[in-house]
């Protein structure tokens, strides 16, 4: 189990401005399912039913009061009528780590506190009327002086594509057995939650001949069974093993923040791939010509590998952060 501390909270982007240096005491972010109390009279315990609304929560406690350009005061002191995009990386500014994204008509409460013996501080709390997403950093906050592409970073490179099959946030589903059939039928002890056409990574299955271990596309048969295109009819059935998802089918949301811009323009894309060989453009953000931010939704299948690709025009440097949240 990985544990993280304040030193790991390294990115706090509001509308393309990194305010991490303004934070000193606390920052909290989260989401809450809104419910309505539903227990009738005569019942001795409370009952609650979700009403299908998610509420985002975001607060900064004890930030340094700083009225400099691009610092806390100038970015958040206007408290109403703003649609903001916020991204926060709590596990570190590293590709593959988790981040949270917020977008919406965010109203904030902003207060400056003066102390006789101490620095002037500021507290900010946001009321998020919009979306809250959790996802993976595809591009850590970094400066580039030329076009880049993380899928060709090379072996051992830190700027590599993100492999969804090793996401620690994924649930590992156990397998009971797989049958002898032209398309081997896999049985799970719990609901697998798959959709036909989805790609999974199976491992740890024994005795199956040929093996069904590896990346497979599934055809769903029931809530606990599915088939994979492996002909075991003349071989042997298998037992045990687990699988994780390699692709998701319900779309997602991409976030892009540009915190420094000194080139002519930037075309930025998140690419995805089923095999780390052929990549398809997943999200092409609006061409950037200045510091800015964008949140963009995408529907349908998102494959296993995610990479970051920026095409710079003009001499100079550009600093970006990007992440993707799968639905």
């Amino acid at each position: 189990m990985a544990k993280y501390a304040g030193k790991d909270f390294s990115v706090f982007l509001v509308d393309g401005y990194n305010l991490i240096a303004s934070l000193s005491e606390s920052a909290s972010m989260g989401k809450e399912s809104i419910t309505q109390q539903t227990n009738p009279f005569g019942i001795g315990s409370e009952g609650h039913s979700p009403i299908g609304l998610i509420k985002g929560m975001l607060a900064v406690g004890g930030g340094f009061f700083d009225a400099a350009t691009d610092a806390l005061h100038n970015i958040v002191a206007d408290v109403t009528g703003f649609t903001r995009i916020v991204s926060a990386a709590m596990e570190g500014n590293t590709i593959g780590k988790h981040f949270m994204g917020f977008e919406g008509a965010i109203d904030s409460k902003y207060e400056v506190t003066d102390k006789r013996d101490g620095l002037t501080m500021a507290n900010v709390s946001y009321l998020v009327s919009g979306d809250v997403n959790e996802g993976i950093i595809v591009q850590d906050l970094a400066a580039f002086t030329a076009s880049w592409d993380t899928k060709t970073g090379g072996a051992g490179a830190t700027d590599a594509p993100v492999d969804y099959s090793v996401d620690p946030g994924q649930r590992v589903i156990p397998i009971t057995s797989n049958s002898m059939a032209a398309a081997s039928v896999v049985t799970c002890p719990i609901a697998h939650g798959l959709t036909t056409g989805q790609i999974i990574l199976i491992s740890g299955v024994i005795t199956s001949s040929p093996t069904i271990n590896g990346q497979r596309t599934v055809t769903v048969l029931s809530s606990t069974t599915f088939s994979v295109p492996v002909d075991t009819s003349l071989g042997a059935a298998g037992t045990g093993g687990t699988f994780v998802l390699c692709s998701t089918v319900a779309g997602g949301v991409g976030y892009l923040h540009c915190t420094a811009f000194a080139i002519t323009n930037l075309v930025y894309k998140i690419m995805h791939s089923p095999d780390d060989i052929t990549y398809a453009a997943l999200i092409t953000f609006t061409t950037l010509t200045a510091i800015g931010k964008e949140r963009k939704t995408v529907s349908g299948t998102i494959d296993r590998y995610l990479s970051s690709q920026g095409t710079n025009t003009g001499a100079g440097s550009v600093t970006v952060f990007s992440g993707l949240c799968r639905n």
Binding site: K151, T152, G153, A155, P161, I277, T278, T301
Partner: protein
């Protein structure tokens, strides 16, 4: 009848430009696993909406075809219509009379 494949609307792909590049990448375990030396040997190509992508690696081509991200087309055989010679008919020349008033 030979088939060809084109990129569907709104799609864009990037893949090894030739069989040699594809082989090197597969043996490395993916593009992100290429050694510095191998990276210099491989070439990639990008295709966008409407462009031919028949040379895409076969596994990805089959997957994207199933998803409708690429479109299959067939090359219709070229059939020459037989030439029919129309008989040449000479129109009689009619001289216009000059009007002398």
């Amino acid at each position: 009848m030979p088939t060809y494949y084109t990129v569907a609307e709104g799609r864009e792909f990037n893949y090894p430009a030739d069989a040699v590049s594809e082989k090197i990448i597969k043996e490395s375990g993916g593009r992100s696993q290429l050694s510095e030396e191998d990276r210099k040997k491989v070439k990639f190509k990008t295709v966008t909406e409407g462009q031919d992508c028949s040379d895409m690696p076969i596994s990805a081509l089959a997957l994207y075809l199933e998803r409708g991200w690429i479109i299959e087309g067939r090359v219709e055989p070229f059939v020459m219509e037989p030439l029919v010679m129309e008989p040449l008919v000479m129109e009689p020349v009619v001289e216009e009379e000059e009007n002398h008033g």
